[in-house]
Amino acid sequence: MALLKVDNLGITFGGLRALDDVRIEIHPNEIIGLIGPNGAGKTTVFNLLTSVYAPSAGSIELEGISIVGKKSFEIIKHGIARTFQNIRLFKDISVIDNIRIGYHNNANYSILAGILRLPSFWSEEKRMTEAAMQLLKMFNMEHLAEHRAGSLPYGQQRKLEICRALATQPKLLLLDEPAAGMNPTETRELMETIRFIRDHFQISVLLIEHDMSLVMGLCERLIVLDYGVIIATGTPEEIKKNPKVIGAYLGGE
């Protein structure tokens, strides 16, 4: 069974049809790239998958369950997590607290239990902290745990955002331009990181990216979007040679 099945997805803003008849199928443990020129609607797809917008048409199913109409936070519980194009961290709190917020739904104690400091509070907080530190260790950031998130350099902020998303224990991770602003070395490191994430956590990754070296080197399959419609899908090799794709990026014959 496909992990994610998107069929005939469309959304209209005012009079503009931003997405039309978008079909996506993602299987477990895949790394898929969503590419296309600026303004093609890629982030809009993410916004629809995470219920920031509601679709005008089409269906979205995660492991067979429809998630259209569910609230954003419910979709997180179902197993989709995302990062944002312009990093959205909780800047004024610590790095580890950012990740703990990601673990929010995976810890289990009530408000009253928290206030009364019942045993469930202590055991769950301990579990959360250990898990968060584990995540930070994986990304070589455990020494930054108590630092203010906003004080981190750009690259580590991106990593932190990914950590927070991983903390929600997703089945599908949506990364929106994770390599933005990175130099080639950092980009290569990111590629390793994403592969590691897929292998270690056994999740699928759908990523939006403009950096072709990352996309071509990392993704098993590509989906190409232009003006809100899918113009091609296939392996990186196939896409590289696809005349429609070349036309879309170069805007000519």
Binding site: G14, T43, N47, F84
Partner: protein
């Protein structure tokens, strides 16, 4: 016959609300701030008018000019010192500052003049009374409505035909692009505040001619009602403020006439709550989604 009376009274009040509402809406459109202190600028206008008429014995037309000029400058000064430094700050900071300015104006006036109400002279005592459809209508009512419409027409021409007007619209739409087009954003914002304040003080004079008593808190209620009018019409949208003001004035007047005066305040609040809950973008507004 009474319906016509209420309707005309409503138009009169609505004209005043519309003029004040324009200040709220223009400022919100250009800097995305609800100028909490706007109603109090209107109040200051009333005091300046009182001072001009009684201490300097200026004729009414001169009083109006002096008042509008004074409040225009006041608006610009407030913007420069209290709001401009916070343009890049969190919204909550600007809101708190605006509340501070509002309280500052009220308390300064209280200390300089008096916390007690002061009477306002009636320079229109000798004015004729018109007859419309068998109804006696005062010059003030007619004058208020006519004056307000004239001012709104002038404003509309200004916004659509002049360079500064176009600059104001540009900055409201997209400040970044406006800067790239070479528009001096600071000047444009100052002009917006100046015009909004001047209109509010004109409204203050119209208001005070009708209810000839001024006190430091007099800006709160009309200010709040004008704000509701601006929201009703669609905050940031100039025709919206004009229409919203009229609609609110008439609704309030009809409620006063047919139900009760107490209830009319509740109706105004009720309209605010209904609009914010069901169509926050107002009558003329479009829904703008936050870009994620």
């Amino acid at each position: 016959m009474t319906f016509l009376t209420y309707f005309l009274n409503g138009l009169q009040a609505g004209s005043i609300y519309a003029l004040i509402a324009l200040g709220y809406t223009m400022v919100y459109g250009i800097v995305k701030l609800i100028n909490f202190a706007h109603g109090d600028v209107m109040m200051v206008g009333a005091y300046v008018a009182l001072f001009s008429l009684t201490s300097f014995n200026l004729p009414l037309w001169a009083t109006v000019l002096v008042t509008m000029l004074f409040t225009a400058v006041l608006g610009v000064v407030i913007e420069r010192f209290a709001y401009k430094p916070l343009r890049k700050s969190a919204r909550i900071s600007a809101l708190i500052t605006a509340i501070g300015v509002s309280l500052l104006l009220q308390n300064l006036v209280m200390l300089i003049f008096s916390p007690n109400p002061l009477p306002f002279p009636d320079p229109l005592k000798a004015a004729p009374v018109f007859e419309i459809g068998g109804l006696k209508v005062s010059t003030l009512t007619v004058g208020t409505i006519v004056a307000a419409f004239i001012l709104m027409a002038i404003l509309t021409l200004f916004i659509t035909k002049t360079r500064m007007g176009k600059a104001m619209r540009a900055v409201s739409e997209d400040t970044g692009a406006a800067i790239l087009m070479g528009i001096n954003v600071n000047t444009t914002i100052s002009v917006t505040f100046a015009i909004g304040s001047a209109l509010a003080s004109f409204a203050a004079i119209l208001y005070v001619l009708a209810y000839p008593q001024i006190q430091p808190y007099m800006g709160s209620m009309p200010g709040l009602k004008a704000f509701v009018a601006a929201v009703l019409g669609g905050i940031g949208i100039i025709p919206g403020a004009m229409v919203g003001g009229m609609v609110l004035g008439i609704a309030e007047s009809l409620t006063k006439g047919y139900i009760s005066s107490q209830f009319s305040d509740a109706v105004v609040f009720g309209i605010l709550i209904l609009v914010l809950l069901f169509k926050p973008s107002g009558l003329f507004g479009r829904n703008v989604r936050e870009k994620v």
